[in-house]
Amino acid sequence: MAKYDLDDDGVVVIVGSGAGGGTLANELCQKGIQVVLLEAGGHESNDSFVNNEWGSFGQISWLDSRSSSGSWRVGKDFNGLPAWICKTVGGSTTHWAGASLRIQDHEFRVKTEYGDIEGANLLDWPITLKDLEPYYDKAEDKMGVTRTNGIPGLPGNNNFKVMHAGATKLGYKNCHIGRMAINSKPRDGRAHCLQLGFCFQGCKSGAKWSTLVAEIPKAEATGKLDLRPKSHVLKIEQDKTGKVSGVIYADSDGNQHMQKARAVCVAGNSIESPRLLLNSENNQSPNGLANSSGQVGKNYMRHMTGSVYAAFEKPVHMWRGTTMAGIITDESGNDTKRGFVGGYEMETLALGLPFMAAFLDPGAWGHDFTRKMDEYSHMAGMWLVGEDMPQESNAVSLHAENKDQHGMPTPNVHFDDHPNDIAMREHAYKQGSAVYDAAGAKENYLVPPYPSTHNLGTCRMSANAKDGVCNAHGQTHDISNLFISDGSQFTTGAAENPTLTIVTLAIRQADYIAKQMSEKAI
């Protein structure tokens, strides 16, 4: 592993080692570029991961103080935990389930497709599916996505059997085991899936792609990567010329260091990335870095979500096997006859008993709650995930008083559902229930959203500098050597789980950064 000086201003500094940052680091290192990867969390491994929901939650989650506001139910149920994401080397790819879907063509231009929707700050992406296709190909190959590149699908587990039987009876045409970044057979030096069912807890077998097990080791092998875990970036510095010159970070003892940089790429996930830009305000950038548009932190999206669990006469044992392999895509198009724009996916999801208790009906107690819990071994479950409307008022901002352990203002996440989100959720609940009814369910449980796992849009891409924070390559409109490299770039959310696209954008961005460096543009 490389070790660069704090004064070395030739390095590219990347903040965050998750889907965006970890992939970008590897891609740049493969091109011979020197990278300092600063990660706030510690370095876990397949050995240290645990098959225990709360145990793992304490091990890899981002638990620094956050607050939330707005009328969303998460704000009431989990006020101090608006998002369920990670602080660990590998970021939330240690936690993710692996569902890897491409964004659909029309979802890159929803302003054109959907027209003006009251209260929604819609915008077309400055790129098209065609622009991304070659990079999607690379990402799917890199991640070993099943049902692409000739990689077989995973075998369906019990939870999928229930979904498939119901979907088929209901007349849905597109129900299959999904495209998953999980090895169905050994590939890329990693084992095949053992059907542990602890995909959210790190995947001890290493079958699941993460930047921890795939990108970062490869980047280290180049000798170009200086990975620094437990390094929390507090501020990005801007020099007199307006370019960024480095970052200030706190190490595990809380000591602060200044790392110089030729370019800085921010990939802290959509709450921490805007928080860092806002906290980096200075005389030249009084509203925070790269914020001449005023859009940093705005248009926060988290996908329309909800779950349906259903109880059956006979046992299901849904926790056995992959947490989320199985999908119905019939509702993912834009069919406004349903009463809303955009679409949603229906994906199998299982929770262990501990998380089921926490999420089934947060705050509930008494016989009605325990009666449902008693059905646990006979339950099947699915997650509903669809496009939500960007709203300028849904925003990440710095808390006026609260500070974290490093003295950095904590982030507040404000969110109100858009009427379109609510209409879509109601439809999705109805269809999810219909699937399980068709499979013979005794009863369906409509489960409200979990803390946000898909956090998007807070530094969005735009063709025009006044509408967003970065251009089609994630380069900020205001500062040429400052990049956004995570899901914050999303102009709109699309219906699909976002990570494949985050990885795709990172691969594409690496090409662009390398080119800009060789041309001495940055």
């Binding site: 098959n51 075998p155 096997g321 501990p354 089921m356 208790a357």
Partner: protein, 189 residues
């Protein structure tokens, strides 16, 4: 395999405050896990009456008729630990237990179940009730006895996963076709 202090028999010999019970005969699964039929929980901060009250209160908040008291005692264990590290919690719990007694006209534990419920239901939403509920929703469902009771199988890694142990053993619905769900990888094939 109770990883709790619950079954440490030497606690029975200590002079501390001890909650005790016998595993109900009906809970066969638990008796396999438990090294003995009796359990004991030593309280470090709360007195025995408060401990018993909290156990019964938890039974009303999360009523599972056949779930053994030994599992509910784990909630008391965590509440006791919280009380030991925070005087405010200790006061909250002791005062809440006293309030239950007042509400029942003296001895809440001695009242019949309907009466007990009527009293505790009125406290729903207050700090005492929320403290028990918030602790219990984690503690009650996050232990191996509860997992055995509900049929959840816990740690899969130590058993090698479910690939050969029933991840797809559901047989009361038709199997999906291979194009939707192919056969599993096997090193032999």
């Amino acid at each position: 395999m109770l990883d709790l202090d619950l079954t440490r028999r030497d606690f029975l010999k200590t002079s501390g405050t001890v909650l005790m019970g016998t595993l109900a005969i009906t809970t066969g699964v638990l008796s396999v896990l438990a090294p003995s039929q009796t359990w004991a929980l030593e309280l470090t901060k709360l007195d025995k009456a408060t401990g018993q009250t909290l156990l019964q209160a938890t039974r009303h908040i999360f009523p599972h008729a056949t779930l053994d008291d030994a599992v509910y005692a784990l909630v008391v264990k965590d509440l006791d630990a919280a009380a030991a590290s925070d005087d405010g919690v200790a006061k909250l719990l002791t005062r809440g237990a006293a309030e239950l007694n007042t509400g029942a006209g003296g001895d809440w534990l001695a009242a019949d179940s309907d009466k007990q419920f009527a009293v505790i239901e009125k406290m729903a939403g207050n700090d005492f009730f929320e403290k028990i509920k918030g602790t219990a929703v984690v503690s009650l469902y996050n232990n191996e006895m509860a997992w055995a009771h509900f049929g959840y199988e816990g740690d899969a890694w130590k058993e090698g996963g479910y690939l050969t142990r029933g991840f797809n053993d559901l047989n009361w619905l038709p199997d999906p076709p291979a194009d939707a769900s192919p056969a599993a990888f096997s090193a032999k094939s």
